[in-house]
């Protein structure tokens, strides 16, 4: 299936949960240094459960589409559940094959979320290599 599937284009053209939370529990920004894409995630967390997630940013259809798709999954998840999301989970959500050169575009949302949650838990942020791990080294 094509990378630019209807689902992704739909989310790119009409992004969900793009906006701001008045008093977010946590806010975190990440960049994809290779292309300048930028995403900020805001989370409202109550009793270790994500009550609301909003985001803003600019980027390509893949990074924005993926962020929009992921944002629909966050509400109601516990911090623990959200922290456990993996790149395979995001790939499943996107439902299209992600080539090596677009992996960082697709995972910018996950990387931002992971570090937002680290920040919430007062932990050190993680690097891109930690987010996409060995996957980066794999051939297409």
């Amino acid at each position: 299936m094509d990378l630019y599937a209807e689902n992704i284009l739909d989310h790119f053209k009409s992004p969900r949960n793009r906006g701001e939370i008045k008093d977010p529990t946590v806010e975190h920004e990440e960049l994809n240094l290779s292309c300048g894409d930028k995403i900020t995630i805001q989370l409202a967390i109550e009793n270790d459960v994500i009550k609301e997630s909003q985001w803003k940013g600019s980027g390509c259809a893949i990074s924005i589409g993926a962020m929009s798709i992921l944002s629909e999954e966050l509400e109601g998840k516990s911090v623990e559940e959200a922290s456990a999301l993996s790149i395979d989970d995001v790939k499943k959500l996107l439902g299209v094959p992600i080539s090596q050169r677009r992996l960082k575009c697709a995972m910018l949302c996950l990387h931002t979320l992971k570090n937002a949650l680290h920040s919430f838990k007062h932990e050190d942020t993680q690097s891109w290599t930690e987010t996409i791990g060995q996957e980066e080294m794999k051939n297409e």
Binding site: Y4, L9, C35, G36, C60, R102
Partner: protein
């Protein structure tokens, strides 16, 4: 040799893989360059200098002949003024971290322009941080070239010690008036460094005519191999500068607590140099110089003008920089409303048209245009009209996906 274009194209085996329009990032290599390096490794490989055997002598001769080829290519007065580096980036860093470190103080400034590649920006920002000197910027005029009035104003302040300027933008393809700028720079008592990474494959360079004090270029953008570049410097400057990297090869004598340096160019070539790459670069220069520059430039001009008029027909597409293609050389960059450059470049890449997306290591210029990234089309001697004709249909397909 006559400019038989279909013959030139056949000498680049990789062009069968797709429509390559990314030569500003790295140029493809003709078969003779690839063969020359293979031949070197098969018959002449050894480390250079001081090896008392036949192979070392052959390798040393090949390496030094490459230096002479580069000297002739840019018309330097002597071969000692040619330092082999890993590329333009290392060349600029070398100047910043030796000459710059010794000569720039709190009262001084380095003047750079909005057309610079990051490699001609960040070494100067580092120098600013270390030496407390200033880095000043020359903005663009209405022709999208550097604003000469502003350059004059900066130079009139009397604190500019170095003007570091590109010969050709790697984003908009604008060529700067190097001679005029260098003259003005010298009148103000400053030195001029030219970043010829982009210019060198598209226009003849004569450092004696330009009178530049330093000039850098990269072998791989000149149809040569990666891993080699050139720093040209005027002899008296190079001799006055402290060494950059130190270690093997670059020394005259080493004692337990001090060392003395070899003469130029060896002084700046610590460690085993890129020998096979020098052989490849020499072959690339010889290969390129079999053609007349007039023919090369006329051919590439026609490709840029054709690209410009093709792209202009596409609705919602904006070309960055000059509105007249006559002021564009080697490459041009553009954006399309509603399509991120990464998506565009990925989609046309799948159609076999290979361009580049991003800020092309020129973030300040992209910031000036108010965009994070663009798509860049860049050409080499091997491109032809058919390559350019493939662009529009590929872009139209991308537009269809996003409409």
């Amino acid at each position: 040799m006559s400019f038989n274009h279909s013959d030139i194209r056949l000498q680049f085996p990789i062009l069968k893989k797709g429509t390559y329009l990314d030569s500003a990032a790295t140029a493809q290599k003709p078969q003779v360059v690839i063969d020359s390096m293979k031949h070197f490794y098969e018959t002449e490989n050894a480390n250079v200098h001081r090896g008392m055997h036949m192979l070392s002598e052959k390798a040393t001769t090949a390496f030094e002949e490459a230096r002479t080829s580069v000297q002739k290519f840019i018309n330097a007065k002597s071969a000692e003024e040619i330092i082999f580096t890993s590329g333009s980036t290392e060349g600029i860093n070398l100047v910043a971290k030796t000459w710059g470190k010794e000569n720039l103080g709190e009262e001084d400034s380095v003047l750079i322009t909005l057309l610079e590649h990051h490699s001609n920006i960040t070494p100067w920002i580092q120098l600013k941080d270390e030496n407390d000197c200033a880095v000043e910027w020359v903005e663009l005029d209405q022709n999208e070239n550097i604003d000469i009035t502003q350059l004059d104003k900066h130079l009139a302040n009397g604190n500019v010690k170095l003007v570091a300027i590109t010969g050709q933008s790697n984003v908009t393809g604008v060529r700067t008036p190097l001679k005029e700028i260098i003259n003005k720079t010298h009148e103000a008592g400053a030195l001029a460094l030219v970043d010829a990474a982009q210019l060198s494959a598209h226009h003849p360079i004569d450092v004696q005519d330009l009178e530049c004090d330093f000039l850098v270029l990269s072998g791989h953008k000149l149809y040569g191999p990666t891993g080699i570049g050139v720093l040209y410097g005027k002899r008296e400057l190079l001799e006055s500068m402290p060494p950059f990297l130190t270690g093997g090869g670059m020394i005259k004598e080493v004692k337990r607590d001090h060392f003395t340096c070899a003469a130029i160019p060896t002084k700046f070539e610590a460690g085993t140099p890129p020998i096979a790459q020098a052989v490849g670069l020499r072959t690339a220069i010889d290969w390129l110089l079999q053609f007349n520059w007039e023919d090369i430039e006329a051919h590439e001009r026609s490709l840029i003008e054709k690209s410009f008029s093709e792209l202009r027909k596409i609705e919602g597409l904006t070309i960055l920089g000059p509105s007249d293609p006559k002021n564009i050389s080697g490459c041009l960059s553009f954006v399309i409303d509603g399509i991120h450059p990464h998506d565009l470049t990925d989609i046309i890449g799948q159609k076999g048209v290979f361009m580049r997306a991003g800020h092309h290591c020129a973030q300040p210029l992209h910031e000036h245009y108010g965009i994070p990234a663009s798509t860049r089309l860049s050409i080499g001697i091997y491109n032809n009209g058919e390559d350019i004709e493939k662009i529009t249909p590929a872009i139209q397909e991308a537009i269809k996906i996003f409409s």
